[in-house]
Symmetry: C2
Subunit: 404 residues, 2 copies
């Protein structure tokens, strides 16, 4: 198939991705926390590249980098994010921003490009894209702190030179919709030998903290029979989840105990307190509700033991369905450029697209992740897959703009 | 029964215990870490009380406070420790030291008293009593650091005013043996309505670190089937221990998972690493060996899963049998002063007596712990039980000195 329309420049795309990778390079990955000096350097570099592409660029009061095309006519918004998880990969986020930039360059109009600040949640949850759709108040910003070092968001914004800048807001009617390219971050495409994923929906993520209260005591002198060991109660709940969830989940459901803390955490002291962070994800609200019911039952069972267990809900995000017309456009382009090497699939990760989808039609395209690895410095995607992903997205964008 | 011989002064004993409790008071307990300013204040106060009792006092180069009686004849060494665990109880250690002091006062000779430094292991393991028996080198001291804040032991000794002081060493032939009074730290005496425990042996403590290596990955996009979740592997091992140990242990065996760490410990990241601290205790070397064999088998089983599990041995202490003649003396005194309210029993906790037992005969006496609670600020013992414990120990000391 010819690459035109539109003629994207694969070498230019890859060169920009590798340049961006150098900001905060860590082994073969990147360490670029939101609003760190190196993150701000990267945002200013990106703004410069957008300007060279003929876009009118703004870095707004929450750190979003937005490049707007001049001219009238139908318009699409393309984007993702550029900060990273700690010691993480070079493509998670960066790929979608630079693909957006390349398509804006290739089409010469009709495409705005955005790098949403803090998708990775150093200070909050989807701060930049939620600010853009009007879902972040000044009070939210006052209250937010860095999850790793506790620095207030206000202080970080001031240090980044962003204090007092206005925050950009979505202009009603400006866009046909939003499109985001992203690495899959799983191994499904690779395992099936496919090169393109057309995202059907973004899963809901339900997150919990479970706390256990027992009795701290001496680990040598307290008989097993009278112990109220909060750590042992936690292990029993975690084991019960592993026993029960496989029987009631959907094939694509996932669940994770991400953190366990025992208090006081010493070799010779029976833990008097314990806490675990637990989450599960699925694209089906009924499956999410079923998993939560079982979790509630297991916590109730735990309370029949010697320790008190309490289930605290942290968040429950609703699965977001991607615009069918955008899915069709992406699939159509994939069929032309990579026949039989694509599939429709849900996204197991959260993305800025789920926020934009609250105010406009949205779609997403995945490229394969080598070994399914992400949120780790060794994350990678084959360069031909990156270029193909950009080509498919560019064709879909051109088709959607043509259709108007 | 008459209290004499010897005439201990219960009010004086309790007054000294309550005075010592005021150094680092925390709620109804005490926070007095080894070599902290308040711990050193307490050591100097104790040295003063020993001098008032007619003992020749030394605070040695490792912080041991040793009071020596003048005169010839048979001699016993009585002691324990005075520093505490963090935010812990007022009697763990302090009881044995002040009972020793009271008996030295009551007998007026034949009794040396020691407060061994750092039994609670802020910087090491039984530093003071091991130094006294010649089991701590200068290189050990150079290498030791505070387990909570990492401060080098050398620095702490200098700040405490102990740098350059000689370390006291056991004088061969000076003692018939060593005796230590201590709170039980368990609930066995209380549960049986008893008031005195005669210790038969101090259990062996076998401690391990188990590390798990998996693959850090994204908690949303990585299918359950391909995960190498180090935290899940840890939970499986901990649950298998809970399943198997009850079937192969002795009635008094205890085991504890004191700490669990998942790496990196974030809600949306599959742990790539995990670690647990695990220990078990028993008075029987064969039981200890049997529990270790099962632990080794379970770790081997874990290695059949997707993560690599490694068992690191931290320490394996050998159970120490208490001198039968000392047990008889303590039981004889208990039979006179608290008929049918005493029993022989092993100690589930480690004590300085197990170090002294390596170079001389040793014995221990327990008084009940209310609710079996220890290593917590709410630790307590009824005052009549404290006084009775001192009386029993004093009678046994007098009998042993008489026998020579």
């Amino acid at each position: 198939m010819p690459l035109s329309p539109p003629a994207i420049d694969g070498a230019r795309l890859l060169a920009d991705l590798h340049r961006l990778r150098a900001f905060g390079a860590y082994r073969t990955g990147v360490h670029r926390p939101t609003f760190s000096p190196v993150d701000m350097e990267a945002r200013h570099w990106l703004a410069g590249r957008m300007r060279e592409a003929g876009l009118a660029v703004e870095i707004d009061g929450i750190g979003n980098v937005i490049g707007r095309a001049s001219g009238d006519g139908p318009r699409l918004l393309l984007g993702s994010h550029i900060e990273t998880q700690p010691q993480a990969g070079w493509l998670d986020g960066a790929l979608g921003v630079i693909i957006g930039l390349e398509i804006a360059r290739a089409l010469g109009g009709g495409v705005d490009v955005a790098a949403w600040a803090d998708e990775e949640g150093h200070y909050g949850s989807f701060l930049g894209s939620r600010s853009f759709i009007g879902d972040v108040t000044e009070a939210d910003i006052d209250a937010a702190r860095n999850r790793y070092d506790g620095i207030p968001l206000r202080e970080a914004l001031a240090a980044a030179g962003l204090a007092g800048r206005p925050r950009a807001a979505v202009e009603p009617g400006r866009y046909l919709g939003y499109l985001e390219a992203h690495i899959e971050q799983g191994d499904e495409l690779e395992a099936k030998g496919l090169r393109i994923g057309v995202v059907t929906s973004i899963v809901g993520i339900w997150q919990y903290r479970v706390t256990f209260e027992g009795q701290q005591n001496h680990a040598g002198t307290t008989r097993m029979a009278i112990r109220r060991d909060a750590g042992a109660a936690l292990v029993r709940l975690a084991a019960a989840i592993e026993r029960d969830f496989p029987g009631i989940c959907d094939p694509r459901s996932v669940w994770t105990v991400g953190r366990i803390t025992l208090d006081p955490g010493a070799a010779s002291i029976i833990p008097g307190g314990a806490e675990m962070l637990f989450q599960f994800r699925d694209a089906d609200p009924e499956v999410l509700a079923r998993l939560e019911r079982r979790l509630q039952e297991l916590v109730a069972d735990a309370n029949a033991g010697p320790c008190r267990a309490v289930l605290h809900t942290i968040s429950r995000s609703i699965p977001k369905v991607m615009e069918p017309r955008f899915q069709d456009a992406l699939e159509g382009a994939a069929t032309r450029l990579a026949p039989a090497l694509h599939q429709r699939m849900p996204s197991g990760a959260g993305h800025d697209a789920q926020q934009l989808a609250r105010v406009m039609p949205a779609g997403m395209l995945f490229v394969p992740s080598i070994g399914g690895i992400s949120h780790h410095w060794s994350e990678d995607t084959a360069e031909p897959d990156i270029v193909l992903g950009c080509q498919v997205m560019a064709h879909a964008v051109a088709d959607l703009l043509d259709a108007g």
